[in-house]
Symmetry: C2
Amino acid sequence: MEWVVILAGGSGTRFWPLSSPRRPKQLLPLAGEIPTAVAAVEAIESLVPRERIIVVTGAELAGPLGEAMGLPAANFLIEPRAASTAPALVWATLEAKRRDPAACVLSMHADWHLGDGFAFRRTAAFALETAQRHDRLVTVGVIPTRPETGYGYIVPGDELVPGVRAVARFTEKPDLTTVHQLLAEGALWNSGLFAWTADRLVKEVRAHAPELREALPLLERGDVVGFFRAVTPVAIDVAVFERSAHVATIPGPFPWDDIGTWEALTRVREADAHGNVLVGPVHAVDSANNVAWSEGVPIVLSGVKDLVVVHANGRILVLARDHAGDMKRTLEALPPNVRDLP
Amino acid sequence: MEWVVILAGGSGTRFWPLSSPRRPKQLLPLAGEIPTAVAAVEAIESLVPRERIIVVTGAELAGPLGEAMGLPAANFLIEPRAASTAPALVWATLEAKRRDPAACVLSMHADWHLGDGFAFRRTAAFALETAQRHDRLVTVGVIPTRPETGYGYIVPGDELVPGVRAVARFTEKPDLTTVHQLLAEGALWNSGLFAWTADRLVKEVRAHAPELREALPLLERGDVVGFFRAVTPVAIDVAVFERSAHVATIPGPFPWDDIGTWEALTRVREADAHGNVLVGPVHAVDSANNVAWSEGVPIVLSGVKDLVVVHANGRILVLARDHAGDMKRTLEALPPNVRDLP
């Protein structure tokens, strides 16, 4: 049967000071009225019942996520440590297989904004069908809407069957010149929306992923802590997709955003007539193209443009939009008693 | 004897949201550790004892100013209404004359930053001496330090005695081209630091100020409310200085700033190595030439320049520095429940 694995880890720094370790971006209503983690369940539950939705996350987040997402406690897998995506997805896939030997898994992330639920579900269903029918690791290639240098790209290869192509190559975070070449070639965004049967994933891990291979028996014996201690952290893209011959891609014709920075709010939220995205009691006077978020204290913008202004958790951030991609640098420059949220 | 009149009215909007009607800029430590109203008393009290310092202000401010300035309650004159500077100064001068028939009055404002107390006191003493010895209305011409279009200018005329000149003309708020011409001519800022004997001021008001003349008997009978109701609001510059033949000017060789906008803090406070003036818990990362003020909540600036950022009284303001001169426009655009401070 079909299963969904939702990756929901995250350190919560990119949306500082709104996000925090206990309330990272997937628990924030960044794109609308509900947190993206809740939206993820809503997006997928008509395709796969809640009992077959597994969430992988860290110890601190399991409680808040469980409450928000409304899934059975047994469906939350707590990673003993963060080790990139491959160990988490292999574990979750084996857990699905333990409960359902014929499990076919769709992987997604808890922090996505999905602009068209219908197209998303249709694509997800097709990905699961393709994974089973053609016994391939399937990656959905989201149709790009901008020359983004922060994403990985899929260059599709030959058509295998109608709507399904092989992958000619993957390119991770290319520079802008390369991005434009890739877009001209018809490359797609490697979003992390994958599908595979449990059997196929295990075969490919054994064949291609030395980072995980030796540790697999630990996992099969139920020794999760031992497995996570033994693996080398590695992304699923690297561990299997870039190495396997059993890969296919299908196009994802829906708006998709991983809401990676404050800047992303300009894409996933409605702006006013001057391009301002204002959430909470924010008043813009002679101001354009700003993102502002207040949890209660009124913010007044006057004569400013291209800023991110946030008041949350007892901190005020005033950030240039073109600086929003490097929040880490900002946080590293702060004294711990300012950086660490109450 | 010598008396000082300190004008201390003000609506408290220019430093919103830090300033408020009950705590306008003269009660804020804008330029340093103490409010300018307190600094004004400290600047002048070695020249004139506190008993001879009179403060003119509005009903709402008398209490807070009295507490801050430490002057006798009888020395606070409460204007029944704001009517520009001439009615206030005429009233205060007659009050000084009532207590001391030979009163000679120095007028100053409670919101000034005076950068050199010694030079200020020397100048103030010389202004008082000149007013008495030569029986003139004396205006101190502050030596300009920038081409400011927001001030009035004094063009000095012939030398009357060493260090004292007649006034060739006054020019109020000239445009920038005119300012440069004025500076080339040696024009001075008409700061509002004046001196006169009570007798001379009354003579000049009777001779030249129809806005006040008819109402003077009311004031002489002690009917302050009637006086303020009867006068036409007018500045002392217009009422007497621009019309009288008994005017003189002396130079004011001290740093002087009326701290008219948030922008002014860059002149009266020390900046960091990147030109940021930061008051309270403010952290600047890759940011330059900003003014930021927090009363407690940490503010983080990242990648921004030429901004004013303030958190005070439950409001957050993010203002372009080149917009700081028009705070009125910003406040008019706000809903009353945001504009009006708690």
